[in-house]
Each structure stands twice: as C-alpha cells, then as structure tokens.
C-alpha cells in the first residue's frame, strides 16, 4: 500500500462513494442477465461457499486454493476507487481487498511468466444468463504481468466493510481501477500465469470494439459512442456529464506501464 490510491488530485466530493444500493443494484454480470437489475435479482442463486481458486500455469505451487486460506493470508484494507464502465457511466466504490500481487506471490510466479489469465465461475444451473449466447462462457479476462503486479490492482472481497455481494462478484473479484469495468472480472475460479497474451471475452465477441488493454482513455472512442465523458451514477434525472480522465484519473500511478506504446492501436 502507499499514497495516492484515492486518485491524486481528485476533489474530495468527486471521491464521495456511491451508496450501497447503487453499487449493489446496478451491475453488469451477464451470467445473470443483460439488464442492470438482473444480477441483483438473480445472483443469489450462485453458491459461493465453499469456493476455491485454481492457480496454475507458470507458478511454483499450482493448486486449488480454498477461499478461506487465501483470505487468512491476505491483508485486507479499504480502497476507494473510481469505476468507469465502458458504457460511459461511473461510480465510486469503497472496496475491501488485498493486492493481487500478494495472491500471486502465494503461488510463486515463475520468471518466464508475462501474462495472467482469469476465469469466472461457469455453473449453468445457478446462472440463468449463460443459456443465452450473448458471450462465450466462461467469462475470461487477462492482464499483462506488470499490470497485475501493480499495487493499484486488487482482489476485492468486500464493499463498505461487508462481504462482497454475489452480484458484485462474490467471493473474490479483480479490480483494476484504470481500466474499463469489464476487465475487473468477477467470481474468479481460476488464475493462470502464461507466457502469451490470453484471450479475453469481450475482445473475442467484438475485437473492433474491445481491445486487450481497455485502459480508460477519453481520446479513444468506442466505435458506437464517445468515451470523452461519463455520467456518475446517482445523479438522478438531470445528472450532468463529467469529463472522463485518462487512465480514469490514475495516470500518475500507471502511465509508466505504457511508455512508448501507441494507446490508440493498443486500445
């Protein structure tokens, strides 16, 4: 942990967290339906205990790690982050979590690993949304190893000091605050270290619209809408648009990861 995680120069009011009702009632979790209220309605069907995460690939100690064991070895702290959805809305979420780097160290990352792949639970009996071919299941995501090891990248296990609700990705999910929300994969059952870039769900569904990196970038539009502005959830009927910040306002911390890269091409 360190300083600046609240987002550098952001005004205090801008970091006022959204309410519990907003954070847990307005979600994208297509395994439970494509509507924003579907996850809150249907995610309770998902059994989250017992839970284990298989960590494999280029690690020293590949194994199924029980969620309780992971939790007992992690230092959980609050991280208040902005969340910017690729659909041009945003929230501020007071996550409880621990750095992904700590979890990866638990398994021992080998020196030739360059990428981290993540996989969401796929259990059709408890996930009514997966009967629809809206995406290829299970949901998969990935990060470059340096992104995964960055201190801003966390595994969240709670919100507002409570256990994370199922619709938000119980019992543990990724949070990468400088990338569009869909990179922050929910209800993770597998983490695989690899040498090559892993496939990611939205990129597979529509490579023109969703790249591997998906860093928040007001200058690179989604083909179907502008990314220059966003609407903070909770402002009601006359909620104004606010400008979107490069790297969602975390540029001071993460811009160095992309030095020399063409972010228009690597979107």
């Amino acid at each position: 942990a360190g300083v600046g995680f609240a987002g550098g120069a952001a005004a205090a009011s801008e970091m006022e967290p959204n309410s519990w009702e907003e954070i847990t009632g307005y979600n994208n979790f297509y395994e439970f339906g494509t509507g924003k209220e579907d996850p809150a309605r249907h995610a309770a069907d998902m059994t989250v205990s017992p839970w284990s995460v298989r960590i494999d690939g280029l690690v020293d100690r590949p194994a199924d790690y029980a969620f309780e064991d992971i939790l007992s070895k992690m230092v959980v702290e609050e991280r208040i982050y902005r969340l910017r959805c690729v659909e041009a809305w945003s929230m501020v979420v007071p996550w409880m979590g621990s750095e992904l780097a700590d979890l990866l160290e638990l398994a021992g990352v080998q020196s030739n690993a360059r990428f981290v792949a993540f996989e969401t639970l796929l259990r059709p009996a408890e996930m009514r949304g997966v009967s629809s071919p809206v995406l290829e299941w299970p949901y998969v995501e990935g990060l470059r190893l340096d992104e995964a090891m960055h201190p801003l990248t966390i595994m969240a296990t709670g919100i507002y000091g409570r256990d994370i609700p199922n619709q938000n990705g119980a019992p543990l999910r990724l949070v990468v605050p400088w990338k569009y929300g869909f990179k922050s994969i929910k209800s993770i059952v597998r983490i695989t270290l690899s040498e090559s870039e892993p496939p990611t769900s939205w990129n597979k569904a529509n490579p023109r619209e969703y790249g591997f990196y998906s860093n928040v970038n007001p200058e690179v539009d989604h083909p179907r809408w502008s990314q220059a502005q966003e609407r903070r959830i909770g402002g009601g009927l006359f909620s104004p648009k606010i400008p979107t910040e490069m790297f969602n306002g975390y540029g001071a911390e993460v811009a160095g990861l992309y030095e020399g890269m063409d972010l228009r091409r690597n979107f």
Partner: protein, 201 residues
C-alpha cells in the same frame, strides 16, 4: 352473431380518444417515477430504453392491424391512426430524452448522428416518421388522395430501421432486439406479399 363480429361491434364502441388517453398514461407514469427517484438507479437510461421500446411496440402494432383483420377478422383499422401517432409520440420522447438528458452537449449530438451508425439509422427512421405523423389526419388524406397511401408506405422503411437501431445498440449478441427485428420483417413480408397479390389481381 359470430364472436368476431361481436368483438368488432364492441371495438366500434371504443372511442379513439380512449386509446390516446390510455397510450399516454405509461409516459406520465414513467416520468413520475423518474422525477420521484423510484424508476431505477439510472433514470435517464431507463426512460430512454422504455420510451424507445414502447415506440417500437406501437409501430409493430400498426403493422399488425391489417394481417389481424385478414387472418382473424378482428377490425382495428379505425384505431390504427391512434396507434401510429402514439408510436410517434414515444419515439419523439425517446429522441428528446437522448438529446436533452443523455447527451446534453449539442456538438456531441451532431458528432454522434454522423459518426455512430446505430444513431444514424435511428435518426433516419425518426425523420421518415415525421411526414407520416404530420399527415395523419382526415384533411391530409383528402388533400393528398392516392399520394397519401404512397407516402404512408414509408412506414415499411421506417419501422425496420427502428428495429435495426435496437439490434445495433445492443452489447453482445442479445436475443430480445433480434426477436423484434424478426417480427418486423415477418409482418413486412406478410404486408408486401399481400400488396403484390393485389397488384397482380
């Protein structure tokens, strides 16, 4: 009396104004909920979606009137104008919500219209509906004569554009918009094959 005739007799009692009043109620209810904060967590998107979907449903209803009469004998012809104008009302609301509450910025509106194909398609559909709404009155039918019917065939272009707009805005492969588009094409096929038969006869 056959049950269809009895139903038609009953329908004759329904004044068009009742359809207008009933048709406007959902809009009032939606805005009331949006203003009081009970519609949803994101009322702007909900209003946008609900009004667009109601507009499309009403457009589909106008396409259903003729086949319904042909295949079941149920006659809603007298109420078709009300359905069409209500559809236009909801689509105009949908557009206004997008302009004033969602995008807000005039420069961005134009950029979206020219740069984003799903918005171009939706806007084109709306523009085609404007002359139909303006001429949906007895005077226009009298003045335009045969040309009125020709003009109102624009509906066969505008309605599929609306369905296409719905399909194109969806993220991922979603079933609901595809069902709408399928229904629209099905009804168009029924209408156009009937028109062709009439011309051949």
């Amino acid at each position: 009396m056959r049950s269809v005739d009895r139903l038609n007799a009953l329908l004759k009692q329904v004044p068009a104004v009742a359809v207008y009043v009933a048709g406007v109620l959902p809009a009032i209810w939606l805005f009331w909920q949006a203003i009081t904060g009970t519609l949803s967590i994101e009322p702007i998107k909900s209003l946008e979606h609900e009004t667009g979907e109601l507009g499309l449903q009403l457009l589909i209803a106008t396409l259903l009137v003729t086949p319904l009469r042909r295949f079941t004998g149920i006659n809603l012809l007298r109420l078709r104008r009300a359905l069409g104008l209500l559809a236009f009302f909801y689509i105009a609301l949908h557009l206004l919500i997008w302009l004033l509450l969602d995008v807000q910025d005039p420069a961005m509106i134009w950029a979206d219209v020219v740069k984003r194909p799903y918005i171009t398609v939706g806007m084109l559909g709306f523009v085609l509906l404007v002359p139909l709404a303006i001429t949906s009155n007895n005077r226009s039918i009298r003045v335009l004569g045969r040309r009125w019917h020709a003009l109102h065939r624009l509906a066969y272009v505008a309605i599929p554009l609306g369905g296409l707009h719905f399909v194109m805005q969806a993220k991922g492969l979603q079933i609901e918009p595809l069902v709408y588009l399928g229904v629209i094409f099905g009804l168009l096929f029924v209408r156009l094959s009937a028109l062709k038969r009439r011309r051949l006869a």
